[in-house]
Amino acid sequence: MKKEDVPQDDENLFEGKFKVVKYAVDEDGKYGTVGSSGWEPENAVLNQAWEEINKKVAETKKKIEAGELSPLAYHMEKNIMDVGMLSQYMEIGKRNVSKHLEPSGFNSLDEKTLKRYADVFDITVEELKKIE
């Protein structure tokens, strides 16, 4: 890659905070570094990953509204976790987490467990019970 070809396709994914370093050659073939504000294909695949996450969150919301899942499922998806990761953070079994993803299991949780879930997501117990 030549220095003048280092892409500057800024789609604000860096929030204007910084440019990333790319290695590129000058006219004599000598290597150096150039800042890049993004590259279209990179942006495309990053956006693709987020669209996938957002889609899952939206689907989960619908299932919660239909009474199929508990609000815990929403916070889990929003934090890009799965049952395995959440059970690790909670230091409880996967089967227990799965149970709490069901409305009946979630509704029977004691305050202490609710607080632990809320802490994992860095929110309050009140927020844990909502899907906003």
Partner: protein, 332 residues
Amino acid sequence: MIIDFEHRQSAHCETGVISNLMRHHGLDISEPLALGIGSGLFFAHMPFIKVNGLPVTTYRIMPGDIFKKFSKRTGVEMKREKFSSPEKAMDALDACLEQGLPVGMLTSVFYLPYLPRAFRFHFNAHNIVVYGKEGNDYLVSDPILEKTEVIDRRMLIRARFAKGMPNTNGRMYYPTHVPQDVDINAAIIKGLKYTAKDMGTIPIPIFGGKAIGFLASRVGKYETKYGKEEAKKYLGNIVRMQEEIGTGGAGFRFMFGAFLQEASARLGNPILHKKSLEITKIGDLWRNFAYDCGRMVKGRADGMTYQDLADQLSDIGKKEILFFQSIHKMKF
């Protein structure tokens, strides 16, 4: 407590931390040199290991191994610690800072609030250096950023005790002995030979240059095997590993080119300069591949097929095998 620490931005976190920490201890090592001596460049495609449901493709060796190989080849001695509790981990960090030692550590980018939102996934192998403390705030040199940052104790604990792949367990490290008479040239040759051997000669199809051809054969079947939408996800993941996560472009191939130029100058070896231009051309092919994958993902393929992408990859694979075999055969 603020240590006089020079922060320099780099493309990649692990090589950047090596470079910055070594310079602090009087050993001037550029980022490309850290990559080359630590044999950071690699390729592997492991369809049976999945992260978020997508098979793992990597352009580098395992996280942490660049630093380990670098230390071994330069005689740098490192203290590595992990902790059972956040309190112990933070106390140990504070104690190092009190002694004037900047500390490298493993964090999850998900819990680093100073990073842009779009990059905060559960990636638990991000290296940063903490070089000071002011009240409840820690001063951070994150190698991929232009400037230093500040993080409060609570968030640093979250980042240091992330769960998943891997559990970070408060892991931290710092040099205890940095020799000032390192034979850099010998270390360069060792690092280079290791990479050339692995990329050029491993017979197992999922590792090294051969794995690029293996991935090509998989990519060719993606659409028929997984359907149009799923295939795009598989393709997108390959490109994310190649370009997005701090590789300096083309999955470390350009940074490796910079390493070969520095090696050529230090060893007085003109062939390595020629090799640098060769890997740059291969890097450009990787970039073309990523560009075409981007078009496919966005649904602007204009008749381009998955087999066309597979053919590009297959060509890159053949070129990389020949390239690394030619270095493997070099006498130093």
